[in-house]
Symmetry: C2
Subunit: 358 residues, 2 copies
C-alpha cells in the first residue's frame, strides 16, 4: 500500500497507514495437510554488542513495544544504586525480578521474601492479580479455595524490585509506577542507554502490569540484549550491574519463567550463556556470547497471539545462528510447539518456519 493511503479506525479518527505493518515478513506457515492454512508475520533483528547488524528477517527497524523483554534491564538501577547490595538480595531474588514467573510456590515465596526485606508486603504491589501461569499451581490455589493475589502476577518480581529501589532511594512507594517517579526515570535512562537510543527517544506506554514499558526499533532491543550477553557498557567500560543480573538469570532460570517454560529450558541448555526472555504480544529477547562478543536477538510476531509461531521462530532462529544444535531443536520443539491436532487428537497439520535469516 502507498505511504499516504488513508485508513479507517472505527474507534477513532481516520489514521494514516504508517510503515508499522510493512516491516513484517511471513515467518511461519501453519499447514493443514499439505495446504498452507495460516501465516504468521513477524520480524527478527540480530546485532552484536557494537550494534553491527548480524542478521534479520523482515525489517530490523520495525517499531515494537518491549513488554516483558524489558525486565532484565528494568532491574539494573536497583543494582546500580547499591540497593540490591543493601538489602542483600540473593541471585534467586534478582532473577525473579527479571522474570515473567509462573506463580509457582517458589516464585511467590521469593517475591514475598523481597517485600519482607524492604519492610513491605503484597499490598504495596500495584501489578494487579491474575491466576498463576503454571497450571498445576493455579489448580492448587483454586482447590485450596484461595483467590490469586498480586504475588501470583507474573510481574510481581519486577514490581517488588521497583519497590525495593523506591525504598532504597527514599522515594514515595505509593506512586512507584508513575513515569516521573525516580524509579521509572532511572529505568528509562538505563534502557535507552543500553539500547543505544538518545534520552527520551523510547516512547512510554503502559504494560499489562500497569508499569511503564517502552517502544523502540527491534534492532535497538537486539542491541540491548547483545549488551546483556557481554556486559560492557555503551562506553565499552565494564558493567557490573549487568554482570550481576545476567549471572542471576543464568544461575536461576526457573525464577525467570518456571517449570515447563521455554525461557527456562533455553537457559538450561547453557549454550553460549544463552539468556531468554519472552514478552507479551509475541515478543522474545535472546542473548548469547561467542568468542568474547555479545549477540542479541529480538523478535516480534506481528499478531501477538499464541505461542506456536513465537516459539517456532525463536528455536529456528537459534538453529540457523548455530546457538542451538540441529539435534537440540527437535526435542525443544516437541515440548513447546503444539502440533496441529483435531478433536480426536490426530495430527492433521504442521507449524513450519518459513524464513532464512539474512
Amino acid at each position: 500500500m502507498a505511504d499516504t493511503r488513508e485508513v479507517v479506525g472505527v474507534s477513532g479518527p481516520p489514521i494514516r497507514e504508517t510503515a508499522h505493518a510493512r516491516g513484517y515478513a511471513p515467518l511461519v506457515e501453519v499447514r493443514r495437510g499439505e495446504v498452507v492454512e495460516s501465516v504468521h508475520f513477524g520480524a527478527i533483528a540480530v546485532v552484536d554488542a557494537q550494534g553491527t547488524r548480524v542478521a534479520a528477517a523482515g525489517d530490523p527497524a520495525q517499531p515494537v513495544v518491549l513488554r516483558s523483554t524489558a525486565k532484565p534491564a528494568q532491574v539494573l538501577p536497583l543494582i546500580d544504586s547499591g540497593g540490591a547490595e543493601r538489602f542483600r538480595f540473593s541471585d534467586a531474588e534478582i532473577a525473579v525480578m527479571t522474570g515473567s514467573h509462573g506463580g509457582e510456590p517458589f516464585h511467590v515465596d521469593a517475591v514475598r521474601s523481597i517485600l519482607e526485606r524492604i519492610g513491605l508486603d503484597e499490598r504495596a504491589l500495584q501489578c494487579g492479580a491474575h491466576a498463576p501461569y503454571h497450571r498445576a499451581s493455579a489448580r492448587a490455589l483454586r482447590q485450596s479455595g484461595q483467590e490469586p493475589t498480586a504475588l501470583h502476577n507474573n510481574c510481581s518480581g519486577k514490581h517488588a524490585g521497583m519497590l525495593a529501589l523506591a525504598v532504597h532511594l527514599g522515594a514515595p512507594i505509593d506512586r512507584y509506577l508513575d513515569s516521573r517517579h525516580p524509579v521509572q526515570e532511572r529505568i528509562r535512562a538505563r534502557i535507552e542507554s543500553l539500547a543505544g537510543l538518545a534520552s527520551g527517544a523510547a516512547p512510554l506506554v503502559i504494560d499489562g502490569c500497569s508499569a511503564p514499558t517502552f517502544a523502540m526499533p527491534l534492532a535497538s532491543l537486539a542491541l540491548l540484549y547483545a549488551r546483556l550477553a557481554v556486559p560492557a557498557g555503551p562506553a565499552a567500560g565494564s558493567d557490573p550491574s549487568v554482570r550481576r543480573a545476567v549471572a542471576a538469570m543464568r544461575g536461576h532460570p526457573e525464577m525467570v519463567a518456571g517449570t515447563d517454560r521455554l525461557c527456562t529450558a533455553l537457559m538450561r541448555t547453557g549454550r553460549s550463556g544463552l539468556i531468554a526472555k519472552i514478552g507479551a504480544e509475541g515478543m522474545y529477547g535472546l542473548a548469547w556470547e561467542r568468542g568474547g562478543t555479545g549477540y542479541g536477538l529480538a523478535l516480534k510476531i506481528s499478531d501477538g497471539e499464541g505461542q506456536r509461531s513465537r516459539f517456532s521462530v525463536a528455536l529456528e532462529a537459534l538453529r540457523q545462528l548455530e546457538v542451538l544444535s540441529a539435534e537440540e531443536v527437535p526435542s525443544l520443539r516437541a515440548q513447546y510447539v503444539e502440533e496441529v491436532r483435531n478433536h480426536r487428537g490426530l495430527v492433521v497439520g504442521s507449524v513450519r518456519t518459513a524464513f532464512r535469516l539474512a
Copy 2:
C-alpha cells in the same frame, strides 16, 4: 520476497515460498497508548452472485481453508436428496446442522433429536468431544460431574446431518467421514459447484472435527456465500435446497452459533437477510441480499488466532458496505471485541481496523 526464495521448514524439507503469504494485507492495528503494538494481516473478498468483484482488501485470490464456513453448504445434499423431508427435520434442526454451536442444552437436544430420528445415537458421531464453547453450559456440565461428549462438539449438528444423509442413501454409517464416501462426494460436488470451481478443484484437508473440508481462493468462497443469499444455482435456476437451509439459519440464528455469539447477533439484526458463519483459524463467511442481488463476503485473518481481529474486521467491512449502519456497529463492537486492558482492568489500548475496501 522473490518468488523463488528458498525457505526452511524445521519439521520438513526446504520449501519454496509461494504466493500464500503475499495475498495478505494489514487489516487491524492493536494500539497500546498511541503506539501500534501489533498488526493482524488478512484478506477480504466481496463478490456478487454472478461472481463480479465488488470489493476487496488484500488479494481475493488468496487460498484459504474453509473450515466451518463450509457448513451452510455441507447441509445441502441432505436437502437435495429428499433426506431432510423424509426424516421431517425441523428448521431448527437444519440450522444446527449448519452451525458451530455452543453446546448449550438446546443445541444438544436438537442434535440428539436428529440422531434419534435416523435410528442412531451419539456413538455414531465421529467428531470427537470437547467442552461446550458456551461457558455457562461448560461450567454446568462440569459441576454436574459429567464429561463432554461428541454431542457437545460444536460440529455435532453437521455430523448428525452427514449421518442422516448416509442413512437416507443406504450408505455405510461407520465411514461417513471418508472422502470417497457418497456423503462426502456429494458435499464436495455441491460446494465446488456453488463456488464456481471445476469438479475436484478444491483440495481436501481434514477439519478439526475429522470431516473433510476444502481449500479454495477467498473469492470462490465469497461467491458461494453470494449464492446462499439469493438462491439461484450456477445455471441461474432456482435452488430450493439453499432456500430451505438459509431460511432455517435466518429463522434460528441461535442454532447456528448460540447465546452471546457474534454470528447469532449479526443474523438477529435482520439487515438485508444477513447470514453469518465463522470458521476456525480466522475465517468468516457473510452473505446478504440487496435489490434482488446476492452478495457474499469471505474473510481470513492470516494468523488464525483470537477473535479481536476477526470480529473487528467483519463489523468494519459490513459498515463500509452499508449492510450494518454506523449506529449498529459500536454496540456490536462493544459486546464482541475485547478492549486492550491491563491486569487491573484499565483500558490501555485499542483494536482498530486499518483497511478500506476497494
